[in-house]
Amino acid sequence: MFKNVLLPFLNILILISLLLYIIPPSVISQYLGSGSGVLGFSIAALVGSVTLIPGFVSYPIAAGLIQQGASYAVVATFMTTLMMVGVVTLPLEIRYFGKTVAITRNALNFVAAVIIGLMVGIIL
């Protein structure tokens, strides 16, 4: 079973590696660290949804963002969309759940992630 899906998994990793070259973490930090307004929030949600950064890389980025003065709302949105929404992994998700369900799940999770980001921003 693992052997059957190893290849699609590797193909997704290839895609992720190219995407992270186009949108490198340093650029993400630059845009999210300074702007914590509506623009920063939107970029956080968008970039978080599209990319998929491993946890042990993304948490240091998040901590760096807070140090640079990004708001908790922006960081929470970025982290939550990273974890819950995966545009780049959609081809893989479709193999398991079918197109409609995979897209619906991602759309619902995107809305939830934005709510989570805003709520965390309000609480902290």
Binding site: M1, L18, V75, T89, L92, R105, L108, A112, I116, M119
Partner: protein, 177 residues
């Protein structure tokens, strides 16, 4: 040659990628090296966690009878079912796509649609190993706030998906197609 290519068509991307990566290192092409470094980071994450998830899937398949899953996290399982899938998700680790095979197994064994999507939600952001790292970097208040806001939303999504998929003949495949 042609038939060889046809037979191994699905490996084309991987092979081309490997060759380009090797070339990049050979001639010192920096963008190529950077792309490959990204790849190794994601690969390390995958190879540390995903095979482990497949072992869980395998053990589940052999050891846990369908009747048991149906009773505990099936259609009629209620709040207890939700608590169980959230706990199951929290005890695991790895990227979200690693949870898809587990979702397939849960589906095969008769877990309810609601619980499968609650499981995916909880897996995405309530895993204990990840919470540990998160608390280390962002502090306990952040993790606590994020977790407490997230949980009801995941449960809500589970109910929404169940409602949406009720009469839709929803299936989860094993991912090999």
């Amino acid at each position: 040659m042609k038939s060889f290519l046809k037979k191994h068509k699905k490996y084309v991307w991987l092979a081309a990628y490997a060759i380009l990566a090797l070339l990049s290192f050979a001639i010192g092409f920096n963008p190529g090296k950077a792309v490959f470094t990204n790849f190794t980071q994601s690969f390390v994450e995958m190879i540390t966690f995903v095979p482990f998830l497949f072992i869980i899937v395998g053990l589940f398949d052999v050891w846990v009878p369908k009747e048991k899953i149906q009773r505990h996290i099936g259609q009629e399982s209620g709040v207890k079912g939700i608590v169980l899938v959230v706990l199951l998700a929290m005890l695991q680790a790895g990227p979200l796509y690693g949870a898809f095979p587990v979702a397939y197994m849960l589906y095969k064994k008769g877990a309810s649609i609601r619980n499968i999507f609650i499981y995916l939600g909880a897996f995405s952001s309530l895993k204990i190993p990840m919470l540990g790292i998160e608390i280390g970097y962002l502090g306990i208040e952040f993790s606590l706030a994020r977790t407490l806001v997230s949980l009801p939303l995941f449960i809500g999504i589970g109910y929404l998906m169940e409602r949406y998929l009720k009469d839709k003949n929803f299936k989860i495949s094993d991912g090999s197609q």
